[in-house]
Symmetry: C2
Subunit: 348 residues, 2 copies
DNA sequence: ATGAAAGCGCTAACAA
DNA sequence: TTGTTAGCGCTTTCAT
């Protein structure tokens, strides 16, 4: 059997509890005994048993990460490694471990979450997405279990949960206004899955900018797609088949933009000459498209980092209510947008 | 306090041990009592405490995933979500949980691994990379702790560890041969970090194909780069500055290829007219480059799935030595390769 | 087929 | 400042 606290205690000629206190670095132990105990630990190659600790002090020092359904390819989005990198970084600082959900469907995920909290497997949970109607959030909320979400709760009544978000409404509005300023009148919107709150917010920002400009939102110009690459491509087909095809597009996600640009180039449409494009996220690879894409940097890493920060805060100080953080965004102008070139042959 | 086995026992009028046996579905309990106990569990909303179980039966039913240093951007490669999806899928089937490493440097990672195994936090470990000289592998090997690696051990003496790999040597050789058949004589090789075994294998395959064709490997045509996007771009600059620039390139990774193509297009070089490119991995996004890239599909998902499979096998049956699995690869011809167009003005 | 009881390795309240 | 001791919630012999 492995070395236990008792072995160390015996060798150091102290009580097990003393050893325990040395591990916790309790100030109520003299430096001298701390030293002897530490030496004993080193000599025996002692390592604390994680499960025993957790059982005894009712805390696991690990946080659960719940990802959206990994069944579809959405999951290959570099967004995820990047949030996780952010979370990971903060977690490591504070010596928390990371436990990953493995469910592929909503039902499986929900069951897993229950296991995590009821089985006391984690001290808190981070949701990497925010759905419009999410059983998981409801559950965690009712159980009063520490959690934070990346995104925002859709339900206004749940404003008091902890979350970190971008101002997606504002971002989408700004981006639309920018295209308007460039002279575009026919601006399409290619959104993600409408079940996600971010999609709704983008949509509203787009709508607001149009209405501020005294323009109407045309249903034909608005497309939603769940799948990242096929989605982008299909959307382009639909949009370019219209009698009055758009001269600019707002795309929900950089990866989708790759699909959009691919299809456009197959149709021999030039970006940005024929169509301007702006998208969201600014994942690493988005500067490598041809041409490099204009996109809104949402600081993915920071989203993860802050979500973890807020969560651990909440775990450590449950009394100090919920917190909300807004991560600033920043439009990165690259080469997929330009002033509308008036088509001389066009008639109204 | 939460509901425990004792509460259930009391309500069902049995001993705690009986409840425990019902959880394990022991055949030595009558169906009748099983029923009553199950009802009691439902009535009380009982969920087994994970830590208590782990402590008592010395097994966690969770496996640790160790990623390479997430400090640099390499980590944003969609390769990772995809392997994890594979691992996750198998793990979920067999009801194993996933625990993630958070270290950013080699030293931190090594320390974490020690914690995982000594602290009995996981039952086994999957390494998502294989370095030429890896302390982690050495450690796990010496401790005789169950683990599997994605890639292969560099050291021939460690052939008896469990791993799942592609035949990267063969893949690189085939790809080189293909370019040779297309008439290319000046074929460059843009590899990843030489610390990784896969890079070495690619390199050897390339070398072998050349020597089989009676050609010499030119040092100038071989470049290694750690960083994915900058790397690709820098490599192109170096290569195209040569007196006799290559007409074809073999690139270690699809994401790097995006960088390569970006830089090429900045130089107004056309792909594949001026330069043919083949790369490796076939991540989802690689079909969305312009033009879509020819690449070797290494079946990332399967790598993860099998690595997990082998590991759990090993955990459950430690006596049945190590296993090795080779995942087949497949070249996906898209549009970044073509026959060499003889330049009429060229002289030798 | 079921119960009693010891123990997994650690923490924490209480004593000293 | 340190030791004693009673758990944490579950599994698992050993009885019955």
């Amino acid at each position: 059997m492995a070395v236990t606290i008792k072995d160390v205690a015996k060798l150091a000629n102290v009580a097990p509890s003393t050893v325990s206190r040395v591990i916790a670095n309790s100030p109520r132990i003299s430096e001298r005994t701390k030293e002897t105990v530490r030496e004993a630990m080193k000599e025996l190659g002692y390592h604390p048993n994680f499960n025993a600790r957790s059982l005894a002090n009712k805390s696991t020092n690990t946080i659960g990460i719940v990802m959206p359904n990994s069944a579809n390819k959405t999951f290959q989005n570099p967004f995820f490694p990047e949030v996780i990198r952010g979370i990971s970084s903060k977690a490591h600082q504070l010596e928390y471990g990371l436990y990953l959900s493995t469910g592929q469907t909503e039902a499986e995920i929900f069951e897993e979450v229950q296991h995590m909290v009821q089985g006391k497997r984690v001290d808190g949970i981070i949701l990497l997405y925010s759905r419009v109607d999410d059983k998981v959030v409801d559950y965690l909320y009712k159980e009063n279990f520490p959690f934070s979400v990346i995104g925002r709760p859709y339900d206004e009544k749940k404003r008091d949960i902890t979350f970190v978000n971008n101002d997606n409404f504002k971002a989408a509005k700004t981006v639309t206004e920018y295209l308007l300023l460039l002279g575009h009148k026919n601006i399409a919107f290619i959104g993600g899955n409408l079940d996600f709150v971010v999609t709704v917010d983008h949509m509203e920002g787009y709508r607001k900018a149009l209405s501020n400009a005294g323009m109407e939102l045309l249903d034909d110009y608005v497309v939603f797609h769940e799948e990242l690459q096929e989605g982008g491509q299909e959307a382009v087909i639909d949009l370019m088949s219209l009698n009055d095809p758009p001269t600019a597009m707002i795309v929900a996600d950089d990866i989708m933009t790759f699909g959009v640009m691919r299809m456009l180039s197959e149709m021999e449409m030039k970006v940005p000459d024929d169509v301007s494009i702006i998208s969201f996220n600014n994942v690493m690879i988005s500067e490598l498209s041809s041409p490099p894409m204009t996109t809104v940097d949402i600081h993915i890493y920071n989203l993860g980092f802050e979500a973890c920060n807020l969560l651990i805060d909440q775990i450590l100080h449950p009394e100090t209510g919920s917190k909300q953080v807004l991560i600033p965004h920043k439009m990165i102008k690259r080469q997929t947008t330009q002033k509308l070139i008036q088509n001389v042959t066009s008639t109204s």
